[in-house]
Structures are given as C-alpha cells and as structure tokens.
C-alpha cells in the first residue's frame, strides 16, 4: 500500500523530468516547426556546463550552472540557427535530418573534449535528504519545471516578443511585410528553446549519467511529450508530461520497466486515435 502511494509523487517527479526536457521543444518544435534532434545534445551541453563549473562553485555548481547553461546551450542553438536551420524554415522534416547530423557531431565533440566515460557532478549537500518519498533533488526539479513553465507562459502569452514569435511561425511572409524582423525573432526563439534544454541538462545531473550520449536517452521521450500535448501547446505539454509520468510510474510498478515503456507508447498511439493532433489542438479552417 505504501508502495502504491509512493508511486504518486514518483509519477509527478517523472513527469517533471519529462516536462523539463520537453519544454525547449515547445519553442523549437512547437513554435518554429524545427524537429531539432540535437536538442538532446543541448541538454548534454547543459550537464557538462555544471560539470565544468564545479571547479569554481564546487558543490553549488548546479545552482550556478542554471543561468550559465541557459546561455551556453542557447548560444549553441543560436549558432545552429544562424548557420543552418534558417535555410530550412517551413521544412520541418529536413531540419530533422540536418540536426541529426549535428547531434552526431556534438556527441563526438563531447567524447573528444571530456572523454567517453561519464563524468561526476556532485549534487549540493542541501539537496540531500527527502520530504517523505520525494527526494529533495526531485523536488528541486519539480520546482524548476514549474518555474520554467510560468516563465514561458508569461513570455508566450503576455509579451510582445512572444506574440511576434507566434506571428512569424504562423505566417512568415506576412510577418515580414507587417514589419517584423523575422530573422531576429527566429534567433531569439531558437535561443530560448535551446537554452531551456541547457537548464534541463543541469537538472538531469542530479539524477542521471553525465556523458556524451546523455541526450540520446531523453530525446524520444521529449518529442512524445510534445506530440501528445499538441504542438506548441504549453498546457498540453504540461498535462501530457504529468500524465505520462504517472502512467509510467504505475505501469512500471505493476509490471516492469520494459513493459511500462511499451505500455506508454501503446497508450499514446491509442490516445492519438481520439485526439490525432494531441491534447490541445490549434485548429484552423485552412485545408492542408
């Protein structure tokens, strides 16, 4: 019984991890339509940022790393956007292939820079311990996810930048002839989306391995969350992440880790039968 009850906060915390890794994609994928397979490697970059900062910040590296990783991953994203992706707007499926190439290269770069083995990132002492069945570091991730969601929501719905971002995504040519500097908006959007991956990377150092292939472990799940939630739909991503977290938690509790994954996939396929465009859909009258 206690086990079953424990699964509830566990499910929430799995959901929080899923949400955190997927949030950046609501920008790059949801808003810009770029299927960025290098998202996982931006997460990795965030994690290595925390690793490097240990020299200066010791055990508090995780905290210090949050803004730094945002910048580092964001800049990487910006460079990617400027050099490559901007030639592919409106062709999401091409960006998938392009960024996959980038992800391979980045993995190899990490391997050359930091070595193939995992590195150690010590978690802050004040994150040791737990609140009931919820470890402090999981709680930290949960709070981080909540904080990010609020910040993103405000940005997307309450700021001029957010509106501009949506306008560019929905009608690039019209945005340009309406006086919007679409290039700048693209850069900013991609910067933020990639930066969020960096933040997720820092958080993941608390619970998982830090190595060159780190990103590959999360990328499929991250896309599933975004798809199940509905492209670019923040509330969709939140609900989908939590639902998948809980589903995963209980499915694994009653079966095993492998079957739980299969069950999650099966449920998503079944779910898309009822909601082919995810939880929340931006409908329009236009034919496709």
């Amino acid at each position: 019984m206690e086990g079953i009850l424990n699964q509830l906060p566990i499910g929430l915390s799995i959901g929080a991890v899923l949400l955190l890794i997927a949030l950046g994609l609501t920008f790059t994928f949801g808003q810009m339509g770029v299927i960025n397979m290098a998202h996982g490697e931006f997460i990795m970059a965030g994690a290595y940022t925390a690793y490097l900062l240990q020299d200066f910040a010791d055990r508090n590296a995780v905290l210090v790393a949050l803004p730094v990783a945002f910048l580092v991953a964001g800049l990487m994203g910006l460079i990617l956007e400027r050099t490559a992706i901007r030639h592919f707007y409106g062709r999401p499926l091409d960006t998938l292939l392009l960024t996959w190439g980038v992800s391979l290269v980045l993995q190899q770069v990490a391997r050359d820079l930091f070595g193939a083995p995992n590195v150690q990132v010590l978690s802050p002492t004040w994150l040791q311990g737990s609140l009931g069945p919820m470890p402090y570091n999981r709680l930290f991730i949960l709070l981080l996810a909540v904080g990010s969601v609020v910040a993103i929501w405000v940005y997307m719905n309450r700021s001029a930048q957010g509106r501009r971002m949506q306008a560019v995504m929905q009608n690039r040519q019209l945005a340009a002839t309406s006086g919007i500097n679409t290039g700048r908006v693209d850069q900013r959007t991609f910067f933020i989306g990639s930066g969020l991956a960096g933040i997720a990377g820092v958080a993941l150092t608390l619970i998982g391995p830090v190595g060159p292939t780190l990103g590959t472990y999360y990328i499929v799940d991250a896309f599933l969350v975004v798809v199940a939630g509905g492209l670019g739909q923040l509330r969709g991503a939140v609900i989908a992440a939590l639902a998948l977290g809980l589903l995963n938690s209980y499915a694994e509790f009653w079966t095993n880790a492998s079957l739980a994954k299969v069950i999650v996939f099966a449920v998503i396929i079944a779910f898309l039968q009822f909601r082919p465009q995810g939880l929340f859909v931006l409908r329009s009258r236009a034919l496709t």
Binding site: Q108, G115, A116, P117, I207, Y217, S249, A257
Partner: protein
C-alpha cells in the same frame, strides 16, 4: 612465420613484412564506448610494451583498430573485415555478450581467433575464442558466497535487460535455492534506462538485506544516484555490483556508491609488482587522472597471453597457437593467470572489494588461489539444470 598465407581463412600467418597485424575491435562510439574505449587503450598499451621489448617472433605488432559502434551486426562486419581484408593474426575485442555472440560465427567460420576480455555469463566455449574475463564461477558465485557469509540472505536482483544479467540471475536463483537464500524480487530495465525512482521504490518496499546488481553502463549512474536520494546507504542495504569498476565509479559519483561492494578479479589497488608497473605505465601513457579496471586489465592480459602462445608455438598460425596456449601461466596485475587449454578460459582469482571515498576499490576478500574456470558450472550440483 613470415610466409604470406595462401588461404584467406587461415588468419594465422598474417605476418607478411616486418609486422604482425592484430585487430582491436571495440565500440568507440555509441552507448558502449564509455566502457570499451579504455579497454582498447589498455590493449594498445600492451602492444606498445611488447613492441618495445622486441615484438613477437622478431616482428613488431601492428594494431588495426575498428569501431564496433555498440552495434552487434557491425561487430560481425568489422570482425569479418579484420580477418578477410586485413588478415590480422588475431583479434582482441568485444565487451557485451551480444557483441561476442555476433562475432562468434565469424571467427568459427574463418577459423580465426578472438580474445574476449570481459566477465560474462558462461555457458559458452567456442574453440575460436579465448575468454580472459571471469566466467560465472569466478565472479558471481564468489560474490554470492560473500553475501551469504555476511548474513545477507534476502536479496533483490536488478539487471539490464539482456543476456548476461538474465543468465546471471538464473544462476543466482539456483544458487539461492540451494543455499538457503531468498530472492525477493527480480527487475530488468532496458540498456540505457535512466529513470530508477519506481524501481527504487520497489526495492525499498521489498526490504531485502542486499541487492545483486547486474546493470550495465550508464544505467548504473542513474540507479546509484537515485538510490542514494531515496535514502539507501551501503550500511542499510549493500548493493553488490559485477559491472561497476573503478572507471564507472567516477561517473556515478563516489558519494553515491561509497561503501558498496563489487566482485571482480582485479582492482587498481591489487598489490603486486606486475600491477604497480601496469598502473604506472597506463597513467604515464593516458594521464594521471585515469584509473585502471578489471576489463582493461583483462584486455591488457589478453595481448600478453596471445603473444606468449605465439612465442611458444613459434608461429601465429591459429591451430598452433591454440595448441600451444594450454597451460601458459603468467604473473599478471591480477596475480597468476593460467590458460585452461580445455575451455580456453583462464584460471583467475576472485576478489570482493569495497568502494572507497577516493573512488578506488579496496579488496576485502579473495579466493586465495586462482579458481579453475567452469563455464558450464559442471562442478556445482545445484546448477545441474542450467547447463542443459
């Protein structure tokens, strides 16, 4: 040697010119690179040392490195390439059992030699493979003996979902049944799995005395980090691992794993002259921060053992090397290693160690003498049904 081979299937006499080519086939990319790259490094060190000492049969060894890319069919392809294109005299390679199983038919078909350096699940004895890592009676069974001795009779099994952990756990269950231990649970996670909160909850709820851990690769990092934050310590519930060596400890974070036991045949701290030399040479070549570990040492040994057999045979020709190998005994960093000609496995000393705050492993128990390899566990009555 020295005669160019006339048959492509010989593989043995590939010693045209002044060098003898040997293949090194490990994953240099993909998930397994984390572990395998260092084994390759250790093998390169051995080759360098042997060459510095004059080589084999008067010829220098020339390594041909290929990437198995953590992908079993690629291992098979590259093995094929090393044998039929490069005509290497032998191959040192593999880590996961899956990669070995994929390469096995290639070596058997070409009658070429593979030296496999990692502990594994046993129940195999290919005439064209030399196994320089432990088989189950040299690692897993000693590990269980140790737990039993410590009074840990209720155990929980956690492993990656593939052949080594599954087979190992079958053996463990048979052992437990025969030795009055109870297995409270058995859980597998896919390779590369990183979410262990649910599994941790299950383990904690089951209240075992100890956990027997056959997770491989990155999963160990996530598992130990998350176990630690769930409040599990080495005192309250020791986790005995058979795939966590010095190399992995760094990535896991010493904090998270300190005090937990592991079972191997070699540690960086193992005391003998050969090891002092090995550790020093390795650090000199690859940097002071690097550690040595059991699979690296087994790979390092493999090169020396093969070279010894070639010297004894006076040729690199495969059948001759095989024949000459039986009984070869060398003082290695892990102690005396003897090739069992019958199974082509090694006599190895089992060692239980505890992870120290400095990230190294301190031996707390050993088998006293090298254990005869018994891949089919024929000498263990309780294992009767396993080897059928």
């Amino acid at each position: 040697g020295g005669e160019p081979t006339e048959s492509t299937t010989g593989g043995g006499a590939a010693a045209g010119g002044d060098t003898i080519k040997v293949g090194l086939l490990h994953s240099l990319s993909g998930t397994m690179a984390i572990s395998e790259v260092t084994v390759r490094d250790a093998e390169l060190l051995a080759i360098e040392e042997i060459n510095a000492a004059g080589g084999v049969l008067g010829k220098k060894l020339e390594p041909v490195v290929e990437d198995g890319a953590s992908d079993w069919p690629t291992f098979a392809e590259k093995a094929n390439k090393l044998i039929s294109q490069d005509k290497v005299a032998t191959v040192f390679g593999g880590w996961t059992s899956a990669s070995r199983k994929a390469m096995l038919p290639v070596f058997e078909r070409h009658k070429a030699l593979l030296w496999y350096p990692v502990q594994y699940e046993g129940l195999e004895s290919s005439p064209y493979i030399f196994y320089t890592g432990a088989t189950t009676n040299q690692q897993i069974i000693p590990g269980l003996d140790y737990l039993k001795e410590q009074g840990k009779t209720k155990i929980f099994l956690v492993g990656s979902d593939y052949v080594f952990p599954r087979t190992a756990n079958k053996i463990i269950k048979a052992y437990a049944a025969a030795n009055g231990m109870t297995v409270l649970g058995e859980e597998y996670t896919p390779l590369g799995h990183t979410e262990y909160s649910t599994l941790t909850n299950k383990v904690v709820q089951a209240k075992p005395d100890a956990v027997f851990n056959t997770l491989n690769g990155d999963s160990n990092v996530a598992f130990f980090k998350q176990l630690k934050s769930a409040g599990v310590t080495a005192e309250s519930m020791p986790v005995l691992s058979v795939s966590v060596a010095e190399e992995e400890v760094t990535g896991i974070g010493v904090d998270n794993i300190v005090g937990h036991p592991v079972a191997w045949n070699y540690y960086q701290t193992t005391e003998n002259a050969a090891n002092t030399k090995f550790v020093a040479a390795f650090k000199a070549k690859y940097g002071d921060a690097k550690v040595t570990s059991d699979p690296m040492e087994a790979g390092y040994n493999a090169v020396y053992l093969w070279a010894e057999a070639v010297k004894k045979a006076g040729t690199t020709e495969v059948e001759a090397v095989k024949k000459a190998s039986g009984g070869i005994a060398l003082e290695r960093p892990e102690g005396l290693v003897t090739i069992d000609g019958e199974t082509q496995h090694m006599y190895k000393t089992a060692r239980i160690g505890i992870i120290q705050p400095d990230g190294l492993i301190k031996e707390v128990w050993n088998s006293g003498e090298p254990i005869k390899p018994d891949p089919y566990l024929k000498s263990y009555p309780w294992a009767g049904s396993l080897a059928s």
